[in-house]
Amino acid sequence: MHPEMALVLLTVFAGAGQGIFILLFILDAIFSLQGIIPQGFILTSGIISLALQAIGVIASTTHLGNPHRGWRAMLMVKNSWLSREVITLSMSAGCTALYILMYWKGMDSSLKFAMGMLGVLGSIGFYISSSMVYASVRFVKEWSTTLTPINFTVFGITSGIACGLAVLANSDVNPDIILGVSEILLALTGISLLLKLLTYRYNARSYLSVSEKNAIGVNNPSIKLMDMGTSYAHYNTTEYYHPYTDEQNKSMQVTVLFLTFVIPATIAAIITSNFAPAISGILSIILAVSMLIGMLFERRLFFIQGNNIQNLYYGNFRHSAAGNPIVSAARKGTPVSVK
């Protein structure tokens, strides 16, 4: 699929913003009575969370052909994951804003707590529904796997906690809390790395048992597109297409692994070991930036690696699964030319 920047920004930034909110809500709920979470942390991280979610909302409207009637996207909540995505994002952004407002106004009531709970629910709802938008497209096998919702949820929370840690480590807070959060972040980054490696393995080994034969209805192993029915590119030859080679994608995979997981995990380990507490503030910022940039690459690659079966018609389908022993053996001597 063509990597649509608006959707990359939406899913990464809104996800991270919600992750920050989940962290600040939990810290506020647990420690507010002791008064050890400084007001500066809640307000700064709350504003960053709101800003990231706002970037997501704005990016998502630039993806629409008719943004002025974007509200209509909420109508089919019964059927469409896209509707659910829009509703849960509005819910989490709205609740974050109200929660921060109540906090700022000093309203420490059960209403604030309820608002926070709703915000957390909206955030988790957004992780699930935004990922199901992709996972429910069963004609893109790289997307339609349980790993998609798990990844979106874990990556969203992890990147949010990374941003939260950057604020925490730079505010006047009990060092034990910083250590605790960085320990959690280290564990989550490790889990994320594992999930991503599993996803890459899944992508390399799985395949859809479709071919040009059934797509055009001729029983012949050699089918070559001569004319796509148009003198120039059109919607269907660009929306589902990306120009990158397998080698380029492989090196992008390595970049993603380093920026998103390896560098942040190393830094989190340094912070956790309390090796250089004096520079943990700056280290945590590097960690958060590296992870956010890595997540943007990760999501972009997620789009690129999605291979929609309608590419079969336009000579753009990538017959992959080279890592699958059954498929690669079965393919020997069966030429399927697609260009």
Binding site: L64, N66, L75, S80, R138, N214, G229, Y235, E239, Y314
Partner: protein, 242 residues
């Protein structure tokens, strides 16, 4: 049983002339579903919306190759995945005749429906910001201002080889149903479970064996001479099933 309108396309007859596609474009760009925007139509990179495109494939390996034409437009699937994913219900399937339509006034242009279509039959119009696709010429087939024999999709009327048939495939007596039954009609990508309404009639080869004795016995001088260049075999291959 409900009416299920569809196109049946005979691949034995299609010669890849693109008449269906151009007539579709002409009617629909001016009709109720139009305009089908074109950008830079006479320039180097023309880009526009079509409801129907004829694709050409080379099948087999040299020297045993043949050309295969595939005119493709929305299949009006019975189990249409595009309908299920639309967040605004702009895309819907009509109960009365099974036609899948897009309500341009409700579509927000999120393009999600097109991702869910396995056939690549939806085209986004970036000028109007909405998704467009074949309507089975709904503004022709029920149009009482048109003569009765012209109440058919524009592509069907344009096809010079009569490769396209329009009708209710739930009615076993309809011309479309009879053609599917007799011509062994098939669906594209049957394994993806969308149950498309449009059907294709497969290209079929008929080989007639003519023994040398038989030819000599009939003293058919021309065929005897042509046979040496295997012309007779080629003619025989090209005869379609009646």
């Amino acid at each position: 049983m409900d009416t299920r309108l569809a196109l049946v396309i005979d691949q034995n007859k299609c010669v890849g002339c693109h008449a269906c596609a151009t007539n579709c474009k002409a009617w629909n760009t001016a009709g109720a579903a139009g305009p089908l925007t074109d950008r830079d139509p006479y320039g180097k990179a023309p880009r526009g919306v079509w409801f129907n495109r004829v694709q050409t494939y080379e099948v087999g390996q040299y020297p045993n190759t043949e050309v295969h034409y595939l005119p493709k437009s929305c299949m009006h699937c019975k189990d249409a995945p595009c309908v299920k994913v639309c967040p605004t219900s702009a895309t819907y399937k009509r109960k009365e005749d099974g036609i899948v339509l897009v309500d341009y006034d409700q579509c927000i242009g999120c393009k999600y429906c097109s991702w869910a279509c396995p056939y690549g039959c939806r085209e986004y119009d970036d000028y109007d910001g909405v998704m467009k696709k074949c309507t089975l010429c709904i503004d022709r087939i029920y149009n009482e201002k048109l003569p009765a024999d012209e109440r058919k999709p524009a592509c069907v009327l344009a096809c010079p080889t009569k490769a396209r048939t329009f009708g209710d495939i739930n009615d076993p007596q309809s011309e479309a149903s009879v053609k599917i039954l007799e011509g062994l009609g098939f669906k594209l990508l049957p394994e993806v479970g969308t149950s498309p309404s449009n059907h294709y009639l497969p290209k079929r080869k008929v080989k007639i064996r003519i023994d040398e004795d038989e030819i000599l016995a009939r003293k058919h001088v021309i065929v005897v001479t042509e046979k040496s260049s295997s012309y007779a075999e080629v003619i025989a291959e090209d005869i379609a099933v009646p």
